[in-house]
Symmetry: C3
Protein backbone atom coordinates (compact mmCIF):
# COMPACT_ATOMS: atom_id res chain seq x y z
CA UNK A 1 0.00 0.00 0.00
CA UNK A 2 1.32 3.44 -0.84
CA UNK A 3 0.63 6.35 1.49
CA UNK A 4 2.82 9.10 0.09
CA UNK A 5 4.22 8.89 -3.45
CA UNK A 6 7.75 7.50 -3.31
CA UNK A 7 9.38 10.79 -4.31
CA UNK A 8 7.37 12.69 -1.70
CA UNK A 9 8.34 10.26 1.06
CA UNK A 10 11.97 10.54 -0.03
CA UNK A 11 11.93 14.35 -0.13
CA UNK A 12 10.30 14.65 3.31
CA UNK A 13 12.69 12.05 4.70
CA UNK A 14 15.77 13.86 3.41
CA UNK A 15 14.64 17.15 4.95
CA UNK A 16 13.99 15.40 8.28
CA UNK A 17 17.38 13.69 8.16
CA UNK A 18 19.01 17.09 7.59
CA UNK A 19 17.27 18.66 10.61
CA UNK A 20 18.30 15.84 12.95
CA UNK A 21 21.79 15.59 11.48
CA UNK A 22 22.28 19.29 12.28
CA UNK A 23 21.49 18.58 15.94
CA UNK A 24 24.03 15.75 15.99
CA UNK A 25 26.70 17.92 14.37
CA UNK A 26 25.94 20.81 16.76
CA UNK A 27 26.28 18.59 19.80
CA UNK A 28 29.50 17.15 18.36
CA UNK A 29 30.85 20.67 17.83
CA UNK A 30 30.06 21.71 21.38
CA UNK A 31 31.70 18.56 22.72
CA UNK A 32 34.82 19.21 20.66
CA UNK A 33 34.51 16.04 18.53
CA UNK A 34 36.59 15.95 15.35
CA UNK A 35 34.93 16.02 11.94
CA UNK A 36 34.79 12.22 11.57
CA UNK A 37 33.11 11.75 14.93
CA UNK A 38 30.81 14.64 14.06
CA UNK A 39 29.76 12.93 10.84
CA UNK A 40 29.13 9.69 12.71
CA UNK A 41 27.03 11.37 15.39
CA UNK A 42 25.13 13.38 12.76
CA UNK A 43 24.50 10.19 10.79
CA UNK A 44 23.26 8.26 13.82
CA UNK A 45 20.95 11.11 14.79
CA UNK A 46 19.60 11.66 11.28
CA UNK A 47 19.27 8.05 10.20
CA UNK A 48 18.87 6.22 13.53
CA UNK A 49 15.14 6.64 14.02
CA UNK A 50 14.27 5.53 10.49
CA UNK A 51 16.61 2.56 10.56
CA UNK A 52 15.15 1.33 13.87
CA UNK A 53 11.63 1.73 12.47
CA UNK A 54 12.45 -0.17 9.26
CA UNK A 55 14.24 -2.93 11.15
CA UNK A 56 11.22 -3.39 13.44
CA UNK A 57 8.79 -3.39 10.50
CA UNK A 58 11.06 -5.86 8.73
CA UNK A 59 11.94 -3.92 5.56
CA UNK A 60 15.41 -3.01 4.40
CA UNK A 61 16.15 0.55 5.61
CA UNK A 62 15.61 3.17 2.92
CA UNK A 63 18.95 4.76 3.85
CA UNK A 64 20.66 1.52 2.84
CA UNK A 65 19.02 1.23 -0.56
CA UNK A 66 19.47 4.90 -1.42
CA UNK A 67 22.91 6.29 -0.54
CA UNK A 68 21.46 9.76 -1.26
CA UNK A 69 20.41 9.67 2.42
CA UNK A 70 24.04 10.45 3.20
CA UNK A 71 23.85 13.80 1.40
CA UNK A 72 21.84 15.66 4.08
CA UNK A 73 24.14 14.22 6.76
CA UNK A 74 27.25 15.54 5.02
CA UNK A 75 25.53 18.83 4.25
CA UNK A 76 24.61 19.22 7.93
CA UNK A 77 28.17 18.51 9.04
CA UNK A 78 29.50 21.06 6.54
CA UNK A 79 26.98 23.76 7.46
CA UNK A 80 27.60 23.34 11.18
CA UNK A 81 31.36 23.30 10.65
CA UNK A 82 31.17 26.65 8.79
CA UNK A 83 28.58 28.40 10.96
CA UNK A 84 29.22 26.99 14.42
CA UNK A 85 31.45 29.87 15.59
CA UNK A 86 28.59 32.23 14.73
CA UNK A 87 25.85 30.33 16.55
CA UNK A 88 25.22 32.48 19.58
CA UNK A 89 22.35 30.57 21.11
CA UNK A 90 23.62 27.07 20.68
CA UNK A 91 21.14 25.12 22.78
CA UNK A 92 18.08 26.87 21.40
CA UNK A 93 19.26 26.33 17.83
CA UNK A 94 19.81 22.65 18.47
CA UNK A 95 16.35 22.29 20.01
CA UNK A 96 14.63 24.13 17.15
CA UNK A 97 16.19 21.85 14.54
CA UNK A 98 15.33 18.89 16.73
CA UNK A 99 11.72 20.09 16.87
CA UNK A 100 11.59 20.41 13.09
CA UNK A 101 12.89 16.86 12.65
CA UNK A 102 10.45 15.63 15.29
CA UNK A 103 7.54 17.23 13.40
CA UNK A 104 8.47 15.66 10.07
CA UNK A 105 9.47 12.21 11.30
CA UNK A 106 6.41 11.54 13.47
CA UNK A 107 4.30 11.98 10.31
CA UNK A 108 6.52 10.23 7.75
CA UNK A 109 7.36 7.46 10.22
CA UNK A 110 3.69 6.75 10.85
CA UNK A 111 2.97 6.85 7.10
CA UNK A 112 5.77 4.41 6.36
CA UNK A 113 4.53 1.99 9.01
CA UNK A 114 0.94 2.23 7.70
CA UNK A 115 2.30 1.50 4.22
CA UNK A 116 3.77 -1.74 5.63
CA UNK A 117 0.33 -2.88 6.86
CA UNK A 118 0.97 -2.36 10.54
CA UNK A 119 -2.16 -1.77 12.69
CA UNK A 120 -2.88 1.97 13.05
CA UNK A 121 -2.06 2.13 16.77
CA UNK A 122 1.28 0.40 16.24
CA UNK A 123 1.96 2.62 13.23
CA UNK A 124 1.52 5.73 15.36
CA UNK A 125 3.90 4.27 17.96
CA UNK A 126 6.46 3.54 15.26
CA UNK A 127 6.03 7.14 14.13
CA UNK A 128 6.91 8.27 17.65
CA UNK A 129 9.84 5.83 17.63
CA UNK A 130 11.10 7.30 14.34
CA UNK A 131 10.75 10.82 15.73
CA UNK A 132 12.44 10.28 19.10
CA UNK A 133 14.80 7.41 18.17
CA UNK A 134 17.59 9.37 16.49
CA UNK A 135 17.74 11.99 19.24
CA UNK A 136 17.70 9.32 21.95
CA UNK A 137 20.57 7.49 20.25
CA UNK A 138 22.46 10.80 19.94
CA UNK A 139 22.03 11.61 23.63
CA UNK A 140 22.86 8.09 24.83
CA UNK A 141 26.10 7.68 22.85
CA UNK A 142 27.18 11.28 23.60
CA UNK A 143 26.32 10.75 27.28
CA UNK A 144 23.77 13.55 27.54
CA UNK A 145 20.52 13.37 29.52
CA UNK A 146 17.97 12.41 26.82
CA UNK A 147 15.53 15.26 26.05
CA UNK A 148 12.89 12.58 26.27
CA UNK A 149 13.39 12.34 30.02
CA UNK A 150 14.05 15.93 31.05
CA UNK A 151 11.45 16.65 33.69
CA UNK A 152 11.06 20.32 32.74
CA UNK A 153 10.43 19.58 29.11
CA UNK A 154 7.54 18.53 26.86
CA UNK A 155 9.19 16.42 24.20
CA UNK A 156 7.41 13.21 23.29
CA UNK A 157 3.87 14.50 23.65
CA UNK A 158 3.89 16.65 20.48
CA UNK A 159 5.28 13.68 18.54
CA UNK A 160 2.47 11.52 19.91
CA UNK A 161 -0.09 14.11 18.83
CA UNK A 162 1.41 14.32 15.34
CA UNK A 163 1.64 10.55 14.93
CA UNK A 164 -1.89 9.98 16.20
CA UNK A 165 -3.20 12.73 13.91
CA UNK A 166 -1.50 11.04 10.96
CA UNK A 167 -3.08 7.69 11.79
CA UNK A 168 -6.52 9.28 12.24
CA UNK A 169 -6.19 11.23 8.96
CA UNK A 170 -5.33 7.96 7.24
CA UNK A 171 -8.34 6.20 8.75
CA UNK A 172 -10.53 9.07 7.49
CA UNK A 173 -8.92 8.71 4.05
CA UNK A 174 -7.74 12.31 4.41
CA UNK A 175 -3.97 11.78 4.59
CA UNK A 176 -2.23 13.67 1.80
CA UNK A 177 1.03 15.58 1.48
CA UNK A 178 -0.81 18.71 2.57
CA UNK A 179 -2.58 17.34 5.61
CA UNK A 180 0.63 15.48 6.49
CA UNK A 181 2.70 18.64 6.34
CA UNK A 182 -0.01 20.41 8.37
CA UNK A 183 0.32 17.72 11.07
CA UNK A 184 4.11 18.23 10.99
CA UNK A 185 3.74 21.98 11.44
CA UNK A 186 1.33 21.53 14.34
CA UNK A 187 3.78 19.11 15.98
CA UNK A 188 6.69 21.48 15.46
CA UNK A 189 4.67 24.39 16.88
CA UNK A 190 3.59 22.43 19.97
CA UNK A 191 7.17 21.41 20.60
CA UNK A 192 8.59 24.87 19.91
CA UNK A 193 6.11 26.42 22.36
CA UNK A 194 7.64 24.28 25.10
CA UNK A 195 11.13 25.71 24.52
CA UNK B 1 6.71 -25.14 14.91
CA UNK B 2 4.54 -24.30 17.89
CA UNK B 3 5.96 -24.56 21.40
CA UNK B 4 3.26 -22.98 23.50
CA UNK B 5 -0.29 -22.50 22.17
CA UNK B 6 -0.62 -18.96 20.79
CA UNK B 7 -2.98 -17.83 23.56
CA UNK B 8 -0.67 -19.23 26.22
CA UNK B 9 2.37 -17.45 24.76
CA UNK B 10 0.34 -14.22 24.58
CA UNK B 11 -0.91 -14.51 28.17
CA UNK B 12 2.56 -15.24 29.59
CA UNK B 13 4.02 -12.43 27.48
CA UNK B 14 1.49 -9.88 28.71
CA UNK B 15 2.16 -10.77 32.35
CA UNK B 16 5.91 -10.46 31.77
CA UNK B 17 5.46 -7.11 30.01
CA UNK B 18 3.47 -5.89 33.01
CA UNK B 19 6.20 -6.89 35.48
CA UNK B 20 8.94 -5.15 33.53
CA UNK B 21 6.79 -2.11 32.74
CA UNK B 22 6.23 -1.66 36.48
CA UNK B 23 10.00 -1.45 36.98
CA UNK B 24 10.27 1.19 34.25
CA UNK B 25 7.43 3.22 35.73
CA UNK B 26 8.90 2.93 39.23
CA UNK B 27 12.29 4.16 38.07
CA UNK B 28 10.59 6.99 36.17
CA UNK B 29 8.66 7.97 39.30
CA UNK B 30 11.78 8.04 41.44
CA UNK B 31 13.57 10.13 38.84
CA UNK B 32 10.68 12.60 38.70
CA UNK B 33 9.79 11.94 35.05
CA UNK B 34 6.37 13.13 33.89
CA UNK B 35 3.65 10.66 32.93
CA UNK B 36 4.52 10.64 29.21
CA UNK B 37 8.19 9.90 29.87
CA UNK B 38 7.10 7.31 32.41
CA UNK B 39 4.95 5.56 29.80
CA UNK B 40 7.83 5.62 27.32
CA UNK B 41 10.31 4.17 29.82
CA UNK B 42 7.76 1.56 30.96
CA UNK B 43 7.12 0.64 27.32
CA UNK B 44 10.81 0.32 26.47
CA UNK B 45 11.41 -1.84 29.54
CA UNK B 46 8.37 -4.05 29.00
CA UNK B 47 8.60 -4.45 25.24
CA UNK B 48 12.31 -3.88 24.54
CA UNK B 49 13.61 -7.39 25.22
CA UNK B 50 10.95 -9.08 23.08
CA UNK B 51 11.32 -6.61 20.21
CA UNK B 52 15.11 -7.12 20.13
CA UNK B 53 14.62 -10.91 20.16
CA UNK B 54 12.06 -10.81 17.33
CA UNK B 55 14.19 -8.44 15.24
CA UNK B 56 17.20 -10.76 15.62
CA UNK B 57 15.14 -13.84 14.75
CA UNK B 58 13.69 -11.96 11.80
CA UNK B 59 9.97 -12.04 12.62
CA UNK B 60 7.74 -9.01 13.01
CA UNK B 61 7.53 -8.21 16.76
CA UNK B 62 4.40 -9.56 18.41
CA UNK B 63 3.88 -6.20 20.12
CA UNK B 64 3.53 -4.62 16.69
CA UNK B 65 0.93 -7.04 15.41
CA UNK B 66 -1.10 -7.02 18.60
CA UNK B 67 -1.63 -3.56 20.11
CA UNK B 68 -2.99 -5.34 23.21
CA UNK B 69 0.67 -5.42 24.31
CA UNK B 70 0.21 -1.76 25.20
CA UNK B 71 -2.43 -2.60 27.81
CA UNK B 72 -0.03 -3.97 30.46
CA UNK B 73 2.27 -0.97 29.89
CA UNK B 74 -0.53 1.52 30.50
CA UNK B 75 -1.81 -0.52 33.43
CA UNK B 76 1.67 -0.50 34.98
CA UNK B 77 1.98 3.26 34.57
CA UNK B 78 -1.43 3.78 36.16
CA UNK B 79 -0.79 1.43 39.08
CA UNK B 80 2.59 3.00 39.84
CA UNK B 81 1.13 6.49 39.54
CA UNK B 82 -1.54 5.65 42.13
CA UNK B 83 0.56 3.60 44.52
CA UNK B 84 3.99 5.17 44.26
CA UNK B 85 3.59 7.45 47.29
CA UNK B 86 2.79 4.35 49.35
CA UNK B 87 5.74 2.25 48.19
CA UNK B 88 7.99 2.25 51.21
CA UNK B 89 10.75 -0.01 49.95
CA UNK B 90 11.11 1.31 46.47
CA UNK B 91 14.28 -0.43 45.36
CA UNK B 92 13.29 -3.84 46.67
CA UNK B 93 9.87 -3.58 44.99
CA UNK B 94 11.48 -2.68 41.67
CA UNK B 95 13.88 -5.61 41.91
CA UNK B 96 11.15 -8.10 42.80
CA UNK B 97 9.07 -7.12 39.77
CA UNK B 98 12.21 -7.22 37.68
CA UNK B 99 12.91 -10.74 38.96
CA UNK B 100 9.38 -11.85 38.07
CA UNK B 101 9.76 -10.48 34.54
CA UNK B 102 13.17 -12.13 34.26
CA UNK B 103 11.70 -15.49 35.27
CA UNK B 104 8.91 -15.35 32.71
CA UNK B 105 10.86 -13.88 29.79
CA UNK B 106 13.82 -16.24 29.91
CA UNK B 107 11.35 -19.10 29.40
CA UNK B 108 8.98 -17.51 26.88
CA UNK B 109 11.88 -15.91 24.99
CA UNK B 110 13.62 -19.26 24.62
CA UNK B 111 10.36 -20.90 23.56
CA UNK B 112 9.70 -18.24 20.93
CA UNK B 113 13.21 -18.64 19.49
CA UNK B 114 12.86 -22.44 19.41
CA UNK B 115 9.57 -21.98 17.58
CA UNK B 116 11.47 -20.01 14.91
CA UNK B 117 13.83 -22.96 14.30
CA UNK B 118 16.87 -21.44 15.95
CA UNK B 119 19.46 -23.95 17.27
CA UNK B 120 18.83 -24.78 20.94
CA UNK B 121 21.97 -23.06 22.25
CA UNK B 122 21.15 -19.85 20.37
CA UNK B 123 17.53 -20.09 21.49
CA UNK B 124 18.63 -20.15 25.13
CA UNK B 125 20.85 -17.11 24.51
CA UNK B 126 17.93 -15.29 22.90
CA UNK B 127 15.89 -16.21 25.97
CA UNK B 128 18.52 -14.52 28.13
CA UNK B 129 18.52 -11.55 25.73
CA UNK B 130 14.74 -11.26 26.07
CA UNK B 131 14.99 -11.45 29.83
CA UNK B 132 17.79 -8.94 30.35
CA UNK B 133 17.24 -6.71 27.27
CA UNK B 134 14.38 -4.55 28.52
CA UNK B 135 16.03 -3.86 31.86
CA UNK B 136 19.35 -3.06 30.19
CA UNK B 137 17.63 -0.62 27.84
CA UNK B 138 15.84 0.94 30.83
CA UNK B 139 19.06 1.41 32.77
CA UNK B 140 21.04 2.72 29.78
CA UNK B 141 18.53 5.37 28.69
CA UNK B 142 17.81 6.41 32.29
CA UNK B 143 21.56 6.54 33.01
CA UNK B 144 21.58 3.98 35.80
CA UNK B 145 24.29 1.35 36.33
CA UNK B 146 22.78 -1.75 34.64
CA UNK B 147 21.80 -4.46 37.16
CA UNK B 148 23.53 -6.81 34.76
CA UNK B 149 26.88 -5.36 35.70
CA UNK B 150 26.56 -4.64 39.40
CA UNK B 151 29.39 -6.51 41.02
CA UNK B 152 27.48 -7.36 44.19
CA UNK B 153 24.56 -8.86 42.37
CA UNK B 154 23.59 -12.16 40.72
CA UNK B 155 21.38 -11.12 37.84
CA UNK B 156 22.01 -12.89 34.56
CA UNK B 157 22.88 -16.30 36.00
CA UNK B 158 19.30 -17.19 37.04
CA UNK B 159 18.09 -16.18 33.56
CA UNK B 160 20.75 -18.43 32.02
CA UNK B 161 19.62 -21.31 34.21
CA UNK B 162 15.97 -20.75 33.27
CA UNK B 163 16.69 -20.42 29.56
CA UNK B 164 18.95 -23.49 29.52
CA UNK B 165 16.34 -25.48 31.45
CA UNK B 166 13.73 -24.49 28.87
CA UNK B 167 15.93 -25.61 25.98
CA UNK B 168 16.73 -28.90 27.73
CA UNK B 169 13.05 -29.54 28.54
CA UNK B 170 12.26 -28.95 24.88
CA UNK B 171 14.96 -31.39 23.75
CA UNK B 172 13.49 -33.96 26.13
CA UNK B 173 10.03 -33.27 24.69
CA UNK B 174 8.94 -32.24 28.17
CA UNK B 175 8.29 -28.52 27.64
CA UNK B 176 4.70 -27.66 28.52
CA UNK B 177 3.00 -24.70 30.14
CA UNK B 178 3.49 -26.39 33.49
CA UNK B 179 7.16 -27.24 33.19
CA UNK B 180 7.72 -23.81 31.63
CA UNK B 181 6.05 -22.04 34.52
CA UNK B 182 8.06 -24.22 36.90
CA UNK B 183 11.29 -23.08 35.20
CA UNK B 184 10.09 -19.48 35.57
CA UNK B 185 9.41 -19.94 39.26
CA UNK B 186 12.84 -21.51 39.81
CA UNK B 187 14.46 -18.58 37.96
CA UNK B 188 12.49 -16.05 39.98
CA UNK B 189 13.41 -17.80 43.22
CA UNK B 190 17.12 -17.96 42.38
CA UNK B 191 17.09 -14.28 41.51
CA UNK B 192 15.01 -13.27 44.55
CA UNK B 193 17.42 -15.13 46.86
CA UNK B 194 20.19 -12.81 45.65
CA UNK B 195 18.29 -9.69 46.73
CA UNK C 1 26.49 -13.48 -4.40
CA UNK C 2 29.49 -14.88 -2.62
CA UNK C 3 32.42 -12.62 -1.80
CA UNK C 4 34.55 -14.78 0.44
CA UNK C 5 34.08 -18.56 0.55
CA UNK C 6 31.83 -19.44 3.48
CA UNK C 7 34.62 -21.07 5.49
CA UNK C 8 36.89 -18.09 4.95
CA UNK C 9 34.22 -15.62 6.10
CA UNK C 10 33.57 -17.80 9.15
CA UNK C 11 37.26 -18.10 10.04
CA UNK C 12 37.89 -14.34 9.71
CA UNK C 13 34.71 -13.63 11.68
CA UNK C 14 35.70 -15.91 14.54
CA UNK C 15 39.12 -14.28 14.83
CA UNK C 16 37.51 -10.81 14.84
CA UNK C 17 34.98 -11.89 17.47
CA UNK C 18 37.86 -13.13 19.64
CA UNK C 19 39.73 -9.81 19.39
CA UNK C 20 36.69 -7.76 20.35
CA UNK C 21 35.58 -10.22 23.02
CA UNK C 22 39.00 -9.83 24.67
CA UNK C 23 38.41 -6.07 24.92
CA UNK C 24 35.01 -6.65 26.54
CA UNK C 25 36.47 -9.14 29.02
CA UNK C 26 39.39 -6.81 29.82
CA UNK C 27 37.07 -3.90 30.52
CA UNK C 28 34.88 -6.19 32.64
CA UNK C 29 37.95 -7.30 34.60
CA UNK C 30 39.05 -3.76 35.27
CA UNK C 31 35.56 -2.81 36.39
CA UNK C 32 35.41 -5.77 38.77
CA UNK C 33 32.52 -7.53 37.01
CA UNK C 34 31.98 -11.19 37.87
CA UNK C 35 32.58 -13.91 35.29
CA UNK C 36 28.96 -14.01 34.08
CA UNK C 37 28.85 -10.27 33.49
CA UNK C 38 32.25 -10.52 31.86
CA UNK C 39 30.98 -13.17 29.42
CA UNK C 40 27.95 -11.00 28.61
CA UNK C 41 30.04 -7.90 27.97
CA UNK C 42 32.56 -9.92 25.92
CA UNK C 43 29.69 -11.42 23.90
CA UNK C 44 28.06 -8.04 23.24
CA UNK C 45 31.39 -6.58 22.16
CA UNK C 46 32.36 -9.50 19.97
CA UNK C 47 28.99 -10.23 18.40
CA UNK C 48 27.22 -6.84 18.62
CA UNK C 49 28.58 -5.22 15.47
CA UNK C 50 27.85 -8.23 13.28
CA UNK C 51 24.36 -8.75 14.69
CA UNK C 52 23.47 -5.09 14.09
CA UNK C 53 24.80 -5.35 10.52
CA UNK C 54 22.84 -8.52 9.79
CA UNK C 55 19.66 -7.14 11.33
CA UNK C 56 19.93 -4.01 9.16
CA UNK C 57 20.64 -6.05 6.01
CA UNK C 58 17.73 -8.29 6.92
CA UNK C 59 19.45 -11.67 7.20
CA UNK C 60 19.46 -13.91 10.25
CA UNK C 61 22.68 -13.19 12.19
CA UNK C 62 25.42 -15.71 11.51
CA UNK C 63 26.06 -15.96 15.27
CA UNK C 64 22.53 -17.28 15.68
CA UNK C 65 22.77 -19.98 13.06
CA UNK C 66 26.23 -21.13 14.12
CA UNK C 67 26.65 -21.46 17.91
CA UNK C 68 30.40 -21.87 17.22
CA UNK C 69 30.49 -18.06 17.40
CA UNK C 70 30.29 -18.49 21.17
CA UNK C 71 33.61 -20.32 21.26
CA UNK C 72 35.84 -17.26 20.75
CA UNK C 73 33.79 -15.36 23.34
CA UNK C 74 34.29 -18.04 25.97
CA UNK C 75 37.95 -18.42 24.99
CA UNK C 76 38.45 -14.67 25.41
CA UNK C 77 36.82 -14.69 28.85
CA UNK C 78 39.00 -17.63 29.91
CA UNK C 79 42.22 -16.11 28.60
CA UNK C 80 41.55 -12.76 30.23
CA UNK C 81 40.56 -14.44 33.49
CA UNK C 82 43.89 -16.31 33.58
CA UNK C 83 46.17 -13.55 32.34
CA UNK C 84 44.56 -10.39 33.66
CA UNK C 85 46.72 -10.14 36.80
CA UNK C 86 49.78 -10.21 34.54
CA UNK C 87 48.61 -7.54 32.10
CA UNK C 88 50.79 -4.60 33.01
CA UNK C 89 49.62 -2.13 30.37
CA UNK C 90 45.95 -2.75 30.50
CA UNK C 91 44.64 0.13 28.41
CA UNK C 92 47.17 -0.31 25.62
CA UNK C 93 46.44 -4.04 25.43
CA UNK C 94 42.72 -3.39 25.19
CA UNK C 95 43.22 -0.83 22.42
CA UNK C 96 45.53 -3.11 20.42
CA UNK C 97 42.99 -5.95 20.45
CA UNK C 98 40.28 -3.44 19.60
CA UNK C 99 42.38 -2.23 16.64
CA UNK C 100 42.83 -5.80 15.42
CA UNK C 101 39.06 -6.41 15.58
CA UNK C 102 38.45 -3.10 13.84
CA UNK C 103 40.80 -4.06 11.01
CA UNK C 104 39.14 -7.41 10.41
CA UNK C 105 35.52 -6.37 10.85
CA UNK C 106 35.60 -3.33 8.55
CA UNK C 107 36.66 -5.70 5.74
CA UNK C 108 34.46 -8.71 6.53
CA UNK C 109 31.49 -6.47 7.36
CA UNK C 110 31.74 -4.70 4.02
CA UNK C 111 32.12 -8.02 2.21
CA UNK C 112 29.07 -9.48 3.93
CA UNK C 113 26.97 -6.42 3.01
CA UNK C 114 28.16 -6.58 -0.61
CA UNK C 115 27.19 -10.25 -0.65
CA UNK C 116 23.66 -9.20 0.32
CA UNK C 117 23.40 -6.92 -2.73
CA UNK C 118 23.65 -3.65 -0.85
CA UNK C 119 24.99 -0.67 -2.90
CA UNK C 120 28.76 -0.30 -2.51
CA UNK C 121 28.60 2.96 -0.54
CA UNK C 122 26.09 1.51 1.93
CA UNK C 123 28.13 -1.68 2.15
CA UNK C 124 31.19 0.31 3.20
CA UNK C 125 29.10 2.12 5.82
CA UNK C 126 27.82 -1.21 7.12
CA UNK C 127 31.43 -2.33 7.28
CA UNK C 128 32.19 0.66 9.49
CA UNK C 129 29.09 -0.13 11.54
CA UNK C 130 30.27 -3.71 12.04
CA UNK C 131 33.71 -2.49 13.05
CA UNK C 132 32.66 0.20 15.53
CA UNK C 133 29.30 -1.25 16.67
CA UNK C 134 30.52 -3.81 19.18
CA UNK C 135 32.92 -1.41 20.84
CA UNK C 136 30.30 1.33 20.98
CA UNK C 137 27.83 -1.07 22.61
CA UNK C 138 30.55 -2.15 25.08
CA UNK C 139 31.33 1.43 26.06
CA UNK C 140 27.69 2.52 26.31
CA UNK C 141 26.51 -0.34 28.54
CA UNK C 142 29.67 -0.17 30.68
CA UNK C 143 29.31 3.61 30.93
CA UNK C 144 32.65 4.49 29.38
CA UNK C 145 33.27 7.40 26.98
CA UNK C 146 33.07 5.68 23.55
CA UNK C 147 36.48 5.55 21.80
CA UNK C 148 34.56 6.74 18.76
CA UNK C 149 34.10 10.15 20.36
CA UNK C 150 37.36 10.71 22.19
CA UNK C 151 38.69 13.97 20.86
CA UNK C 152 42.34 12.98 21.13
CA UNK C 153 41.87 9.79 19.21
CA UNK C 154 41.66 8.62 15.59
CA UNK C 155 39.30 5.69 15.71
CA UNK C 156 36.68 5.57 12.99
CA UNK C 157 38.82 6.96 10.19
CA UNK C 158 40.98 3.82 9.76
CA UNK C 159 37.81 1.71 9.67
CA UNK C 160 36.40 4.01 6.96
CA UNK C 161 39.60 3.64 4.95
CA UNK C 162 39.51 -0.15 5.29
CA UNK C 163 35.82 -0.41 4.40
CA UNK C 164 36.16 1.93 1.42
CA UNK C 165 39.22 0.01 0.21
CA UNK C 166 37.24 -3.22 0.41
CA UNK C 167 34.38 -1.76 -1.63
CA UNK C 168 36.78 -0.37 -4.21
CA UNK C 169 38.67 -3.68 -4.45
CA UNK C 170 35.36 -5.41 -5.03
CA UNK C 171 34.40 -2.96 -7.77
CA UNK C 172 37.76 -3.62 -9.44
CA UNK C 173 37.12 -7.35 -9.13
CA UNK C 174 40.24 -7.58 -7.02
CA UNK C 175 38.78 -8.55 -3.64
CA UNK C 176 40.23 -11.84 -2.47
CA UNK C 177 41.23 -13.25 0.90
CA UNK C 178 44.71 -11.84 0.37
CA UNK C 179 43.73 -8.31 -0.64
CA UNK C 180 41.08 -8.36 2.09
CA UNK C 181 43.61 -9.34 4.73
CA UNK C 182 45.96 -6.68 3.34
CA UNK C 183 43.21 -4.06 3.80
CA UNK C 184 42.73 -5.33 7.38
CA UNK C 185 46.42 -5.03 8.13
CA UNK C 186 46.52 -1.49 6.72
CA UNK C 187 43.50 -0.54 8.85
CA UNK C 188 45.07 -2.07 11.96
CA UNK C 189 48.35 -0.27 11.29
CA UNK C 190 46.66 3.11 10.77
CA UNK C 191 44.74 2.64 13.98
CA UNK C 192 47.74 1.37 15.96
CA UNK C 193 49.79 4.37 14.86
CA UNK C 194 47.25 6.61 16.61
CA UNK C 195 47.75 4.88 19.95
Amino acid sequence: MEIFAERTQLALDLVGVFFFAVTGALLAARKGFDVVASALLAGMTGLGGGVVRDVIIGVRPAALEHPVYLAPVLLAVGVVYLYYPHVSRFRRTLLLFDAAGLGLFCVTGTAKALAADVPAVSAALLGVTTAVGGGLLRDVVAREVPSLFRYDDIYALPAMVGAAATAVLWRLDALSVWTGVAASVVTFTLRALAL
